[in-house]
C-alpha cells in the first residue's frame, strides 16, 4: 500500500514539473500520432502485397503494433528516465540523498523520474490495441485475455529487470549508458513478430535483449498462438530476472561509496 502511495507522489511530482511546459503536450501528441500513422501506413503497404506475414494477419500485426507503442511508452514514461537518473546520480554521488530515505531504495530509484507526457504514447498504443481487438472480435475469449494480461505483465517485469541490472552496473563501471542506447535501437525490431527474423537475430532479440517477451509474446497470446509452455517460460524468466535484479541491486548499493562525500 505504501508503495502505491509513493508511486502516486512521484507521479504527481513529475506532473507538476512538466505542467510548466504545456506546449510539450501538443508536441508529444503530434509526434505520437505521426509515428503511429507512419507505422500503420507501412503495415498496410506490406499487406497490399500479401495476406499473411509469417502466419500473422494484418489485424494481429496492428495489435502487435499497439503493444509495441504501449510498452515503449511505459519504458519512456518511467523506466528509462529513472534508470538514466540513477546512473547520473551514481556518477555525481547524489544517490546519497535517495539512500538515506527510509524506504526501499530499489523502489525509490525506479520511480524517481517520471515523464508524464509519455502517457500520450501509452494511451495511443492502448487505442491502437483496442481497435485491433475489436476487429479481431469473436476470436478473443476469457482465457486468451488472461493469457495476454499475464504475458504483458511478464514482459514488463522482464524489461524492467533488464534495465535495472544494466543500470546497476553503473556502480562498478561508471559509463554504461551505451548499452541502454543499444536496447532502444534494438527495441524498434519489436514492432514485427520475432519469428520473421533469421535465427541469430531472433535469439538476440529473445535472450540478449529481451524485446521478444515485451511485444511478440503478448501479441501471440492475443492471436491464440501462444503455447502454455511459452507463457510459463516467460513467467518463470520474469520471476527469475526480477529476483536476480533485486539481489544484484543490493550488492550494488553495498559497493556504492558515494562519489561526492
Amino acid at each position: 500500500m505504501s508503495q502505491l502511495r509513493l508511486a502516486w507522489v512521484f507521479f504527481r511530482l513529475g506532473a507538476l514539473n512538466e505542467l510548466e511546459y504545456r506546449a510539450n503536450f501538443f508536441v508529444q501528441l503530434f509526434q505520437a500520432l505521426l509515428s503511429i500513422g507512419t507505422a500503420l501506413a507501412a503495415l498496410s503497404i506490406v499487406f497490399s502485397h500479401t495476406t499473411a506475414l509469417a502466419g500473422w494477419r494484418e489485424d494481429q500485426l496492428v495489435a502487435l503494433l499497439g503493444i509495441y507503442f504501449l510498452v515503449g511508452g511505459m519504458i519512456n514514461l518511467v523506466i528509462q528516465p529513472s534508470m538514466e537518473r540513477l546512473m547520473e546520480d551514481v556518477r555525481l554521488g547524489t544517490l546519497d540523498f535517495t539512500l538515506t530515505k527510509p524506504e526501499d531504495s530499489q523502489l525509490l530509484v525506479s520511480l524517481k523520474q517520471i515523464e508524464i507526457w509519455k502517457l500520450v504514447d501509452v494511451a495511443a498504443g492502448a487505442a491502437v490495441l483496442l481497435v485491433a481487438l475489436i476487429r479481431l472480435g469473436a476470436g478473443l475469449g476469457l482465457r486468451q485475455a488472461a493469457a495476454f494480461a499475464a504475458a504483458l505483465l511478464a514482459g514488463g517485469v522482464i524489461v524492467y529487470s533488464f534495465w535495472l541490472m544494466l543500470a546497476t552496473c553503473a556502480f562498478w563501471f561508471v559509463r554504461v549508458q551505451n548499452i541502454l542506447v543499444i536496447f532502444q535501437s534494438m527495441y524498434s525490431a519489436g514492432r514485427w513478430p520475432v519469428s520473421i527474423y533469421p535465427p541469430w537475430l531472433r535469439s538476440t532479440l529473445t535472450f540478449l535483449v529481451p524485446v521478444a517477451f515485451a511485444t511478440t509474446v503478448p501479441a501471440e497470446a492475443l492471436s491464440g498462438r501462444l503455447s502454455g509452455q511459452t507463457l510459463l517460460g516467460a513467467a518463470a524468466l520474469a520471476a527469475l530476472l526480477f529476483a536476480f535484479a533485486r539481489w544484484f541491486w543490493r550488492r550494488g548499493i553495498r559497493h556504492y561509496s558515494g562519489a561526492s562525500a
Partner: protein, 282 residues
C-alpha cells in the same frame, strides 16, 4: 612572438622524413581520438544497419509467401536493394537537422558567423571527413550483410559510370535540402516535430520502407515529383539495373533541377535567417 617566429623559420628547413613522421603522428592521434569513441561507433553502426535489415527481412518474408517474388524482387533482390540502400544512405546522410537547434539555442552560431566564410563549408568538410572515417566500419558491415543475406546483383555496365554523378548529386540534394530545412530552427528554436515530419516523408518517398516500385501508384507518382527519391532511391535503382538508360539520364536532370532549387532557397532563406538571428544565450 619572436621566439615562435624563429621556431617557425627553423621548421622550414625540416627534412622530408620528419614531415612524414609528423603526418604519421597526426594520423595516429586522430585514429586514437576516434577509437576513444568505439562504443559510440558500434551503436551508430547498429542504428544505420538495423532498420534496413528489418525491412529486408519483412519484404523477403513477403516475397517467399507470394511465390518467390514481389514486384520483381526476389529475396536475393531485396538483399541487394537494401545493402545498396544502406551504403547510399550512409554516403548521403547528414546530421545537420539535429545539430542546428543546439547551435542556435546555445548561441553557437555567433563565432561561425564571424568567420569570413559561409558556415556551410565547414559542415560539408566535416561531413566528408566523417564519412571517410566511418566507411571503415560501414564497408565491412556491408560485406557481412552480403555474406548473411546472399544478394544477387544485375548491374548493367553502362550504369556504373552514371552511378558516380547520381550518388554525388544525391548527396548534394539531400545535404542542401536538409540544411534549408534546418534553417527553420532560426524561427522556432524547437524543431523536433519538423524533423520527424521530414523523416516520415523520407521513410516512404526515398525508398527506405520499401522499394518505390512496391508502393501504391499515387504515392509512386508523388515520389517522382518530390525530392526524396532523388536523394537515395535513384542511385540504388540505377545500380540495380531497374532503370533504362534514358530514365537514368532524365533522373540525373531531375537531380540537377532539385539541386538548383535547393541552392536558390538556401540563398534566400539564409539571408532571412541571418536577419532573424539574435544569438540566444550569447
Amino acid at each position: 612572438m619572436k621566439p615562435m617566429a624563429e621556431g617557425c623559420n627553423d621548421k622550414r628547413g625540416l627534412p622530408m622524413i620528419d614531415l612524414l613522421d609528423a603526418y604519421a603522428a597526426h594520423f595516429k592521434a586522430y585514429i586514437a581520438l576516434q577509437l576513444q569513441y568505439r562504443a559510440e561507433l558500434v551503436i551508430w553502426l547498429l542504428g544505420m544497419v538495423l532498420e534496413p535489415v528489418i525491412y529486408l527481412v519483412v519484404w523477403s518474408s513477403v516475397a517467399r509467401s507470394s511465390g518467390g517474388q514481389v514486384g520483381g524482387f526476389t529475396p536475393a533482390g531485396f538483399a541487394a536493394y537494401y545493402i545498396l540502400f544502406t551504403l547510399v544512405n550512409h554516403a548521403t546522410f547528414s546530421w545537420i537537422m539535429h545539430e542546428f537547434e543546439f547551435r542556435i539555442r546555445n548561441g553557437e552560431f555567433s563565432p561561425r558567423l564571424l568567420r569570413p566564410i559561409h558556415p556551410i563549408h565547414s559542415d560539408i568538410a566535416d561531413n566528408l571527413t566523417y564519412k571517410l572515417l566511418t566507411s571503415a566500419v560501414m564497408l565491412p558491415a556491408a560485406i557481412v550483410l552480403s555474406l548473411v543475406f546472399q544478394p544477387s546483383f544485375a548491374t548493367p555496365l553502362w550504369a556504373i559510370p552514371l552511378f558516380v554523378p547520381a550518388l554525388a548529386l544525391g548527396f548534394l540534394v539531400r545535404f542542401f535540402f536538409e540544411w534549408v530545412l534546418a534553417l527553420a530552427a532560426f524561427w522556432t528554436t524547437r524543431v523536433a516535430a519538423i524533423n520527424q515530419m521530414y523523416f516520415a516523408a523520407l521513410l516512404f518517398f526515398s525508398g527506405r520502407m520499401a522499394p518505390l516500385a512496391l508502393l501504391p501508384a499515387p504515392i509512386q507518382a508523388a515520389g517522382n515529383v518530390l525530392p526524396f527519391r532523388w536523394m537515395i532511391s535513384f542511385p540504388v535503382e540505377l545500380l540495380l539495373g531497374r532503370l533504362s538508360p534514358s530514365a537514368a539520364l532524365a533522373g540525373l536532370g531531375i537531380q540537377l533541377l532539385w539541386l538548383l532549387a535547393a541552392l536558390a532557397v538556401l540563398h534566400l532563406g539564409w539571408q532571412q535567417a541571418l536577419r532573424r538571428y539574435t544569438a540566444v544565450g550569447a
